[in-house]
Amino acid sequence: MEEDDKIKDLFSNFQPELSTSDGDFLAQLRRSMAAVELVRRQHLARRRDSRKALAVAALTGFAVGVIFTLLIPFVGDCISTFSISSVTVTIDYGILCRFMAATASCLTAINACRLALGKNFRR
């Protein structure tokens, strides 16, 4: 117990001088908090914009995909009329058209996403 009291006495008088005043310390803390808030807001805005761009890309890709799928019968006919008669390899134009539709949808979606992101970043 005596040992305990000695240490209690030691710390009861412990009043070290701090390097900055309370006012300065709190002012610095407020500045840091404001900076953190700013970064957090920007981060949230960036995430929101990214989500929007992804939604735009998905919708555009879907729309282009639907349009191309509807056009497949016509596109297939067009391609088959241009086919070279001497080529003996059998080509499945349906698969070719679907592949083209998928590629076009993907490319359109990627570009739509890029455009949406670019527009957001400029803002």
Partner: protein, 162 residues
Amino acid sequence: MDRGQFISGVEGSQKALRRFLMALCCGDSQLADDVAQEALIKAYLSLGSFNSTEEKFNAWLFRIAHNTFLNMKRAQHPTVGYEATANLAGNDAPDAAFRYQALYGALGRLPAKERASVLLYYMEGYDIKEISAITGNSEDAVRQHLSRGRKHLRELLDPTDK
């Protein structure tokens, strides 16, 4: 708890927190303030996780500050020993700067866990259960740290008293 409540809470407890960190940093007031700033920003960012029914605001702040201090210690490469505290840059009042050199020197030689337990118990008046929550050690471990810390501190401050 919103931003305003957080700031008013911090205004009430920042002095005790900085004093605790200054002792934990063995008198390096600049480092203590840096740790305090970092800890308070961390606390502000994780305000959502604070549950006022489970924990006191002060104890929560001390827990974050203690963890921040430990993380900082882990990241730091020790280049100087506790003897370096004798050469700490003084402030405008040299007498005040050197008043606690013996205590800082002794605290610097205590293991971090013992130091934190001793400071929280004797300086801030927390009980064993609260110290256990702040430091993340079991109550038995805290009791052990306190007992050893007390013994070491006594030996270091008064080598003749064994």
